[in-house]
Symmetry: C2
Subunit: 237 residues, 2 copies
DNA sequence: GAATACTGACTGACTGGTCAGTCATTTATA
DNA sequence: TATAAATGACTGACCAGTCAGTCAGTATTC
């Protein structure tokens, strides 16, 4: 111990710090002042939290969970490592919170869309658009990839993801397919496998991470082709 | 972590490692009878190598690359850790060799199948069958999963996999689709996205690792539904 | 208004544990 | 006996998580 870096200089630091008058404030009602100070503190806290999450996203998606060093996350967020532990219990919690923060907002969007009772052709176009714009072309793509690549080793996170995100999306898809099947827009068996609708999106995410450099993939075109395929398979009444 | 290594007491069965025939699951066809001492030695070497690969497969697919300890691989193969280094340069090489050994044999099968000039309906059934029997219901499923989950952090392995495996499969698929499109069995645009054909298979592999326990998935039925979808989308002449 | 006391967010050196890879020694084989 | 194969204790690097200490900002006192 006793390795404090101020050891050499005789305690000048303290006095100087104290002497700093810190620009005089006009007198203010105590309550207001306290409240605003409180708010400012809370705001700074949230800001810090965000900075950590942002840095964590960067590191986790570049290196994966195990290989990510919290030292690097801290450096990227321009804070000390210890600070991370003021906001998150441990590395795994940080990871889980990251996934929650990024993917939870999607659910509402998808469910709202799925509730609209419009022809599948229209709905499908909208879904593709949302997927490309809100997932594939954003950081959410990396989070989905993280879920795919790391989920197996974190059963709790996989469960959370299934419960809070995936089951809702699958449910919405099933509802859409059920209505579409009733209208004869789609074969009835498809209702049992909403995964088929989503599959090309996931494959695109995997492909982009592994093989894009060897063989680029036009996601939007692929999704459109897939949608056309599904729509063309309707019963010819 | 599960600690299976409690053999601290007098037990110490050491030479038993050699005596133990160590199960029959071979990654490679059984060697022909050794004609000479040289051959016998070489055969034993290959056997050891196989034992290591088998153990590595088990550990890697249970824990992922980073979290796998070579001590555990050695224990499972009933050899000392140092022995691994007599057969593989390092952990990464072991991983790469594992992927090579498991997936390379598939390529020939797929390519041979793709060369047959038969109606898509027949071919597709065969492909689904091969996928289910040779991949989904075997350890190869785990290797494909490993490729998906770890590939990003091992660009060399991803490149090897693309070059030696994936590009051949994609190529075969494209050839199949081209002929099918020429016959009007399938929309022409599909030729640009053979990934669409494979997508449900990959999604099934991911699903089985992450969400099977919440919501089981009948792969075979899903694949059949998907094939039916593709076939139903043909131009109605 | 200035001096003093207090608070808690933040820091980063340190600890304890882990594990890939090495190599001197032991064991098996020719 | 000579050579090859196998062993496992050891080393050095690495890193999650801790905690004693710091200091800017806030409250209190005169």
């Amino acid at each position: 111990m006793a390795k404090s870096r101020t050891a050499s200089a005789q305690g000048r630091a303290k006095v100087t710090a104290m002497a700093k008058p810190r620009g005089g404030n006009a007198l203010r009602p105590l309550a207001t002042k306290a409240a605003s100070a409180q708010d400012a503190r809370k705001a700074r806290g949230l800001e810090r939290r965000d900075a950590i999450l942002t840095a964590a996203l960067e590191e986790f998606s570049a290196r994966g969970f195990e290989a990510t060093r919290l030292d690097d996350v801290a450096a990227r967020a321009r804070i000390a490592k210890g600070t991370i532990y003021l906001y998150f219990r441990d590395k795994e919690t940080l990871f889980q919170e990251l996934i929650r923060a990024m993917l939870t907002p999607l659910v509402g969007t998808i469910e709202a869309l799925g509730a609209a009772d419009v022809p599948l052709a229209v709905l499908a176009d909208r879904l593709v658009d949302i997927f490309v714009r809100e997932v594939y072309e954003t950081r959410r793509k990396d989070v989905v990839r993280l879920m795919i690549t790391e989920g197996r080793r974190f059963p709790k996170i996989a469960e959370f993801y299934y419960r809070e995100v995936l089951s809702h999306i699958i449910g919405a898809m099933r509802a859409i397919l059920r209505r579409a099947a009733a209208r004869g827009e789609v074969p009835a068996e498809l209702v049992d496998f909403p995964q088929i609708l989503v599959a090309p999106g996931l494959v695109a995410i995997i492909w982009s991470g592994l093989f894009e450099r060897f063989e680029p993939l036009d996601v939007r075109a692929m999704m459109k082709t897939h949608v056309a395929l599904v729509l063309a398979a309707r019963k010819k009444a």
